[in-house]
Symmetry: C2
C-alpha cells in the first residue's frame, strides 16, 4: 500500500492503472477510521480493480472551529487498518495541497443542501461539495463509495456529480451500526461512558417512529413523540427531526412515497446525526 | 463531421478516441462563428488528434435577457464553416440537455471574477464558470482553447480548472482583429454601419494608452485621456478602463510587471470589450 501526499503522485499512479484499463474506486474519508469506513472499503474492493482511500480532514466543511480542532486524528492506526484491507493507494494530502495560495472557487448546491444540517451548519455543504468535486477529479475514479449515514451529504454529492457531469458513479452503502443500534461515527469516541449509554436512544426513537408511521399513525404526532423521547433520554437539543422524500429530500407530510426520517441532536458536547428509511 | 446533441452521444465518441490514446482538443463557443473562432479551431487541430467544437448559447451567463434574445444565431453557416475546417465533432446541445430539471449547482470564483465585467454583469462569471466546468467534463478533452479577447473570462476559467483539478490544459490564443484594429466579436454584426466606423477607436485608444505607459507617462493621466478619446469618438459610456496584472488581474498603478489594459464601452446598443498587453 502506497501513501501519497501530492495530487501529482496520485495522478501518476492512477494514469498507470487507466493505461491498463483498470477500474478504480475511491473512498473519501476524513480519517479516524472505524468499521463503517472499512465496509465502504470492502465495497470498493469488491466493485473495482484498484481502491484508493483519501484521508483529508477538510477545514472548509467545519463551520465550528472547535469541532475541527477536536476532530479525532489517528493516522498511524488508519494506515494499519487500510493495509490490512489491502487498499492499493492512500491519498493523504496537507490542506495546502488541496487549497494552495490563490484558491478561490466554491461549488454551491441549492435545494438538497438547504434545511436539515444545512440550516445548522452554514457553509458546510459548500465545503463538502467543493472538496468532493476536487477529490473525484483528482483521483479520476470510476466509482466513489459513500455511507448513507450522512444522507443529506449523499444527496448533495449525487447532485454535484450529476450537475457538473463529473464522470464517476456514486455508490451508497447502508449505515453501519453498533449492536445497540448506534450509527458508527468518528465523533462517537468523543462521548463520555454515560453519554455512550444514552446515544443509542436516538436510533431507537427513529426506528420506533418509522414503525409507527408505517402503521398509519399521523406523522406530526409520531415526530412530536419521538422528539420528546430523545430529549427525555438525555439529549439537550433536537436540531431537526424530519420526514423527507428519498428521491430528492423534499419535505413530506407522511410516507406517501419512499421516505427517510432524519435527525440531528446534541448529547453533551457531541452532535449526532442519524437517519432510517420509512418505506 | 458529426453533430451530436446529447452528452451520452458525445461521450461515446470521445470514449472511442480515448481507447486509441488520441489527444482531444475542445473549442467552446456560443456559435455565430467568425475568423477568430476559426483561429481557435486551427490551433486545436494543430495541437491534438481530434477536435470538438461546442456550440451552446449559455442562458445562465446572460445577465441581460435582451442580450440573450439578440445574440446572433447562425447554425447552418457555423456547421458549414466547421466542416470546411475538418472539425471531427460538433456538440450542439439544447439548454435542457445542459440544465435538466432539478439542476441546482453553481460554480463561483472569487477574486478574478470581481470587478471589470464582473461588476457590470452580475452572475455572468458564475454562469461561465459553471458551464465551462460542465463542457470540459462532458468532453473530457485534454486541451481547451480560448481567446484572449475575453481576458477576464480566461482568468476565471484558468482559476476554475486549477481549483477544481479538472484534468485539462487551457490554451490561450491572442485576440484576432480586423484590419482596422477592431477585435472580432459575434456582437459586431449588431453595429450599424456608422457605429462600425467608430468601433475601431476603442482599440486605437487602448494601443495609444499602452504605448504612452511604456514611454513612462503616468498611468492615471493616460487612462483619463484614453477615456475621453473613447467618449469623443462616439461611445456613450466607458464602463471600465483599467490596468491589471497579467498574472492574477490585480489592479496596478503602473506597468511595474506584465500588465493588461482592459476596457468595456457602449456604442449604440452594443457593449464592446477589448484588451491589450502593456509589457
Amino acid at each position: 500500500m502506497q501513501i501519497v501526499r501530492t495530487i501529482a503522485a496520485l495522478r501518476d499512479r492512477v494514469a498507470d492503472w487507466k493505461k491498463d484499463a483498470l477500474k478504480v474506486a475511491v473512498v473519501p474519508t476524513m480519517g479516524a477510521l472505524h468499521e463503517a469506513h472499512l465496509a465502504l472499503v470492502r465495497r470498493a474492493k469488491a466493485s473495482a480493480d484498484r481502491t484508493i482511500v483519501t484521508i483529508f480532514v477538510n477545514p472548509t466543511q467545519f463551520n465550528d472551529p472547535r469541532d475541527l480542532a477536536n476532530y479525532p486524528r489517528t493516522d498511524e492506526r488508519d494506515h494499519a487498518l487500510l493495509r490490512r484491507e489491502a487498499v492499493d493507494l492512500v491519498f493523504a494530502p496537507e490542506p495546502s495541497e488541496i487549497y494552495p495560495k490563490g484558491f478561490a472557487t466554491k461549488v454551491f448546491v441549492a435545494g438538497v443542501s438547504e434545511g436539515l444540517c444545512g440550516a445548522f451548519r452554514p457553509g458546510h455543504f459548500e465545503g463538502v461539495a467543493t472538496v468532493v468535486a476536487k477529490l473525484l477529479l483528482q483521483t479520476q475514479a470510476d466509482l466513489a463509495i459513500f455511507g448513507e449515514k450522512d444522507y443529506q451529504q449523499l444527496h448533495v454529492i449525487r447532485r454535484v456529480v450529476r450537475d457538473l457531469d463529473i464522470p464517476v458513479t456514486i455508490v451508497a452503502e447502508p449505515t453501519f451500526r453498533e449492536s445497540d443500534g448506534l450509527a458508527l461515527s468518528s465523533r462517537n469516541v468523543l462521548l463520555s461512558p454515560e453519554e455512550r449509554r444514552v446515544a443509542p436512544k436516538l436510533s431507537e426513537a427513529l426506528l420506533r417512529a418509522a414503525r409507527e408511521m408505517k402503521q398509519g399513525h399521523a406523522a406530526a404526532d409520531v415526530l412530536a413523540r419521538a422528539r420528546r423521547s430523545i430529549l427525555e433520554a438525555g439529549f439537550s437539543t433536537v436540531q431537526y427531526l424530519e420526514l423527507r422524500a428519498e428521491k430528492d429530500l423534499r419535505p413530506l407530510d407522511g410516507p406517501s412515497e419512499p421516505a427517510r426520517l432524519l435527525v440531528a441532536a446534541i448529547l453533551g458536547n457531541v452532535r449526532l446525526i442519524d437517519n432510517v428509511p420509512v418505506s
